[in-house]
Symmetry: C2
Subunit: 146 residues, 2 copies
């Protein structure tokens, strides 16, 4: 995938990318939100190339900090995010993507959203409680050998 | 404010705070979302103390990276965020707060949301276009001397 992606990044329209305030690692936080329900699905990071590609392809391309490489969301799972809108915040250091989440699953745990744990105050003490269903077993999404 | 806040942080319920994966600076990203409309209002950062206080007070308390101090949202503007729900993501390194935004203004520019700029593809080239109205002049919010 990287070769295909890299070949497409020779764009001239760079002003909008220069307006982004990249952090010391050259990254910006990117929040993906369902374009219809506005549910927050996930937060990941983008470098300059991944944001350019996201805008060009209209599909979310993040930058994996653990792998230090471009991460075209859905490349393994098929759960691509079709991008309907890209917003930038006042400090120019956070992006919001309004996306159509293919498969209805954004999280690697097989849930719609990565934010499936709620802080509850039930006794004896506060805890993070999983409140959302797993839609599809991750083994089925990624294959059992992974 | 800091004195008042610090005095309240001697909580024993620490397990839920230890479940959070704090970054190398001891921070976690926190996204605030309107509890009724689900509009994303802002993203900021929290340290352990600010998250504990947020949970305790049911008001958003962030950590200002520029000032390196606790930031009780609304302390200057009056635009406090009443917290209705706190969620944690699968990697335990991002928080979502469902908040009631007092004054209807989260952004220091006087807008409802910090994400008021949309990437447009109008000619001659892509640009970040402001699309949301200023509800209240920042001078009126913070005072002209600021």
């Amino acid at each position: 995938m990287s070769e295909t992606l890299s070949a497409t990044t020779s764009i001239n329209e760079t002003d909008w990318l220069e307006a982004v305030k990249w952090n010391q690692d050259g990254l910006v936080a990117a929040i993906a939100q369902d374009y219809q329900t506005d549910r927050i699905l996930m937060m990941a990071w983008m470098n300059r190339e991944s944001l350019a590609l996201t805008s060009e392809k209209k599909e979310a391309v993040y930058f994996s900090r653990s792998r230090q490489s471009l991460w075209h969301k859905g490349e393994s799972s098929g759960h691509t995010q079709i991008v309907h809108e890209i917003r930038l915040d006042c400090d120019a250091d956070v992006i919001v993507l309004k996306v159509e989440q293919l498969g209805g699953i954004a999280c690697h745990t097989g849930r719609e959203s990565c934010f499936y744990r709620v802080l509850t105050e039930d006794s004896p003490q506060k805890q993070w409680q999983s409140v959302d269903d797993v839609i599809k077993n991750p083994d089925e999404i990624y294959g059992k050998t992974k």
